[in-house]
Structure formats: structure tokens, C-alpha cells
């Protein structure tokens, strides 16, 4: 159970039976007035957002969220299917629920699926993943200009900015939080 004073950005609470993330938060208190807790809330299932201002002393249930490791199997044209590798349970997520993670989603990758009351509602990638370059312009030898980058295509179809020496078929480590290239992986 949370109280108004515990509210902050990133906290996940349950409202009317649905999970919400606080995506913006501000404490305000007009002169001699009461403390107010201004929140921008995002519904973690539908993605809809709204603003709400709470006063002190209000109580909130923690959103009952749980992460389970699952393996990405395939896209069936409508949904993305995942499997729990120990129980073989399968779950699916819609394109909207997968969102931008689609850029790094490769078959057989193991990731965390987020559940709210046993319903799959989202996913998070490991912080670092490895993906292969499928298309790249050849390295123009001698181009050592520091800071220069080029775009290469990864096996998921995503185009990422990398240093000029990166070549086709190389394996890259990518930081999924910033969507940035980290380094080449030696095989």
C-alpha cells in the first residue's frame, strides 16, 4: 500500500483494477494551502495517458506486476508469440504492446515478459543484446575522421549508427536502453 507521499516518477499503482505507471510527477503546495501530488499516468495495458492530482493521505494499491523469462518464438502476422522454456506455456503480445522493442526482437532471444494478474502486458529486453549486420557500405579505407558514423542494417531490419569500420556479417553488441552501438563482438 502506498500513500500520496510515496508517489514519484516510475512508481506503478493500480487504479480501477488496471495497472498505471507514473510517467511525470510534481509536488506542489500553493502558499498556506495543502500539498498536492500532480501525476501523469499511463495505463500499462492500453497505453492511454491522463493527468490526475491527488491530495495528501490518499492510499494506493501497488500494481500486481510480475516478470517472467520467456523465449521469443515467432510473429504470426498479428501477434508476437513467446514461450516459457520450463513450463512451455505460450503467451502473445500485440504489435502495440511490443512497441519499439520490435527493432531488436530476434527469434529465440530470451527476455522478460511483464504480467499483470497473469495477463501478459509488455516486455523488457536485456540491457545488452547481440545482433548481426546484414547490410553495410564497405569501409572507405583512410576515413578515420573521428566522430563520423554510418548507418548499417541489422538482422531485425533496424538501421543503427556505427563507426565506419563496421562491416557486413559482423556481430554487434547493442545497448537496448539507449538503442546505441557499443562494440563489435569477437567470434
Amino acid at each position: 500500500m502506498y500513500e500520496s507521499g510515496d508517489l514519484k516518477k516510475g512508481l506503478k499503482i493500480e487504479i480501477d483494477g488496471e495497472p498505471y505507471a507514473i510517467i511525470q510527477f510534481q509536488f506542489v503546495k500553493p502558499g498556506k494551502g495543502q500539498a498536492l501530488y500532480k501525476c501523469k499516468l499511463k495505463n500499462m495495458i492500453t497505453g492511454t495517458q491522463f493527468d490526475r492530482t491527488y491530495r495528501s493521505g490518499e492510499k494506493f494499491n501497488e500494481a500486481n506486476l510480475e516478470e517472467r523469462q520467456m523465449e521469443y518464438l515467432y510473429y504470426d502476422g498479428e501477434n508476437y508469440c513467446f514461450m516459457n522454456t520450463s513450463t512451455y506455456d505460450q503467451e502473445s503480445l500485440t504489435k502495440d504492446q511490443v512497441g519499439d522493442i520490435i527493432n531488436f526482437l530476434k527469434e529465440n532471444i530470451v527476455l522478460d515478459i511483464l504480467f499483470f494478474k497473469d495477463q501478459a502486458i509488455g516486455l523488457t529486453l536485456p540491457n545488452f543484446i547481440e545482433l548481426r549486420v546484414t547490410e553495410a557500405e564497405p569501409w572507405a579505407k583512410g576515413d578515420t575522421t573521428s566522430g563520423s558514423t554510418k548507418g548499417v542494417t541489422l538482422e531485425t531490419g533496424y538501421v543503427i549508427q556505427v563507426p565506419p569500420f563496421v562491416q557486413k556479417d559482423e556481430l554487434l553488441r547493442i545497448d537496448t536502453r539507449t538503442c546505441e552501438y557499443v562494440e563489435r563482438v569477437k567470434e
Partner: protein, 309 residues
């Protein structure tokens, strides 16, 4: 870890020097205007019971949420115009403009009312700006506020009507009033020149005198610059019977919220029978430094926030 802390502290050097110059300027201003500086205890037995201010307890007593009651006792004892720069403590207040321990400037005039305090504020802030060579425009939060022109004065009723579209009357619903104030009104106040909003509903001014010309309102004002509430002042209530009734009311409201921590400030009430007509105002020094340094958050103008201690 230690080095990150020290780097963050060194980064505040410029603002903290500015802060010390502002405080020097404030002292000079008040001494030049015939005030003298007083000191009152940080740890007190009975703070003013106020519905929306939670005092921090300290070994059976409390840390002062403002120096108000003891400064007024000094007025009752015949001290003339006085000022003080001190720390105040308020539980559960932390945000872009709030620290649970903050620095307050408070001053009182005898045989004067809230209008004189508004004039003091105009003079004080212009004086500091000139001293710091940032007169006449204060740049803050994307606004350029001209402090040399005449400062705007808007009655609370009119501010509500202009920015929120309704009139609060003498006994508005507290939540609606505070929410409209925080969301619709405050962000629009003082963007091109400073603004005083004045004459609050009586229910929102527990220690202020009622306005004889405008019944239902109390002679209380707030100063806003660049959307930031900077100072709160009023013509003092000096009737001990009425003050006791209002304190009882505040204590009752606190009890209804489950807060049974307030004592009646008996010594203060006793001294009030000798209190001359007076007016007093409190100004947040941290917020003043925010304005003069164009800082987005209060964290930038103090060396240590509670989170890094």
C-alpha cells in the same frame, strides 16, 4: 561515489557565492531601513497550529515551521521593526520548489499594514538586483521579468476569475481552491512583471486580520515572480480571543486528518493582548536565489539536499 558528490558540490560554487551576496544585500537593506536583526529558537514547544503545515517533532518539542510566533512576541514586548534570517522545517514538503529544511527571511513593521510590506518587497528586490548588477530584468524559466516598472496588484477573487473562470467567495472548497491555484493561476503569475495577489478568503488566513472594507477576505497577500511564489504576508490579527478560536479550528481540522500533534501556543496568546497593530511577511530565500540564478529546481541553490546527506 565520494567524487561524484564533490563534483556536484563544486558545480554549485557560482550559485552559492551569489547566494551569500544576496543574503549580504538583504542584511544591508534592512539595517539601512531602520530594522534590527533578531534570533528566535529553532526548537520550540508549540508551533502555530495550521491545517496544512506538519511540524517536525524534536525530543518532545518541535522544530519551528517559521519564526512567526516568537517574533510577534518580541513585537508585543515593544521591539520595533525587526527582521530575521533563519531555518524553518516542514515535514513531507519536497519538490521543485520545496525542501523540508529551508531558509526564511521574515520581517515585521509596527503600526503598519500589508500595503507597507508590498512596498518593502518592491524596494528590497530592486535593491538586491541593483547590488548584483542584474537590474532591471530577471531572466527565469524562459521569462524576462521587468522589476523596474510598477508591480501588478490583483485581488484573489479577480485572479481566480481571470485564470480559472470562477470566484471563490469567503469559504471555498479547500481542494478546489488549492488545485486551481496550483494548476491554473500560479503558473501565469508574474511572467513579465512581479504580481501581488491580495485579499484571501478568510478561511485561508488563520493569523491575518479581516479586511474591514472587504468582509469575507483577510488582509493577506502573496508575491509571485516568474510563476514562483516568493513571499506571503499579512496585516496581523491582534485579537487574542479571535486568534484562540481560529487556532482551535485549525487543531480540530488537523485532528480530523488524524494529526493529534498540536498544542495551543498559550504563551503566544497571552502576549498578544499587548501586541501593537503590525504587519509581517515571510520570504523564501532559496526561491529568491533560484530566481536570481535562473535555476530550475531548488536543489541547485543549496549545497546539501536531504537526499545526498
Amino acid at each position: 561515489m565520494t567524487s561524484t558528490r564533490l563534483t556536484s558540490l563544486s558545480g554549485k560554487r557560482r550559485v552559492l557565492i551569489l547566494r551569500s551576496l544576496i543574503i549580504r544585500s538583504i542584511r544591508t537593506f534592512f539595517f539601512d531601513h531602520g530594522f534590527f536583526e533578531v534570533e528566535t529558537p529553532l526548537r520550540i514547544k508549540a508551533p502555530a497550529p495550521e491545517q496544512n503545515i506538519d511540524p517536525v517533532s524534536s525530543d518532545g518539542w518541535f522544530l519551528a515551521a517559521s519564526p512567526e510566533l516568537q517574533m510577534k512576541e518580541l513585537l508585543s514586548a515593544g521591539f520595533g521593526p525587526v527582521f530575521q534570517i533563519t531555518r524553518s522545517f516542514r515535514k513531507n514538503e519536497r519538490g521543485r520548489l520545496h525542501l523540508p529544511e529551508f531558509t526564511i527571511l521574515e520581517w515585521y513593521r509596527v503600526n503598519d499594514d500589508y500595503l507597507s510590506l508590498m512596498r518593502d518587497l518592491e524596494q528590497l528586490i530592486r535593491y538586491i538586483a541593483k547590488d548584483l548588477l542584474i537590474y532591471p530584468n530577471i531572466k527565469s524559466h524562459g521569462n524576462k521579468v521587468d522589476i523596474s516598472c510598477e508591480w501588478e496588484r490583483i485581488a484573489v477573487e479577480d485572479a481566480f476569475y481571470r485564470f480559472a473562470g470562477w470566484r471563490p467567495g469567503p469559504y471555498p472548497d479547500a481542494f478546489c481552491f488549492d488545485k486551481a491555484m496550483a494548476e491554473d493561476i500560479e503558473p501565469n503569475l508574474g511572467l513579465s512583471r512581479p504580481v501581488f495577489i491580495y485579499d484571501y478568503p478568510v478561511s485561508m488566513a488563520s493569523l491575518a486580520r479581516q479586511n474591514p472594507d472587504n468582509p469575507g477576505t483577510a488582509e493577506r497577500f502573496e508575491l509571485y515572480i516568474a510563476g514562483i511564489e516568493l513571499a506571503n504576508g499579512f496585516s496581523e490579527l491582534i485579537d487574542p480571543k479571535e486568534q484562540r478560536r481560529r487556532f482551535k479550528d485549525e487543531i480540530k481540522k488537523r485532528q480530523e486528518m488524524g494529526k493529534n500533534d498540536c498544542l495551543m501556543p498559550e504563551n503566544f496568546l497571552e502576549s498578544m493582548s499587548s501586541m501593537p497593530p503590525s504587519a509581517g511577511v515571510a520570504l523564501g530565500i532559496d526561491r529568491l536565489v533560484m530566481l536570481f540564478s535562473n535555476s530550475e529546481i531548488i536543489d541547485n541553490v543549496v549545497a546539501f539536499t536531504p537526499e545526498i546527506l
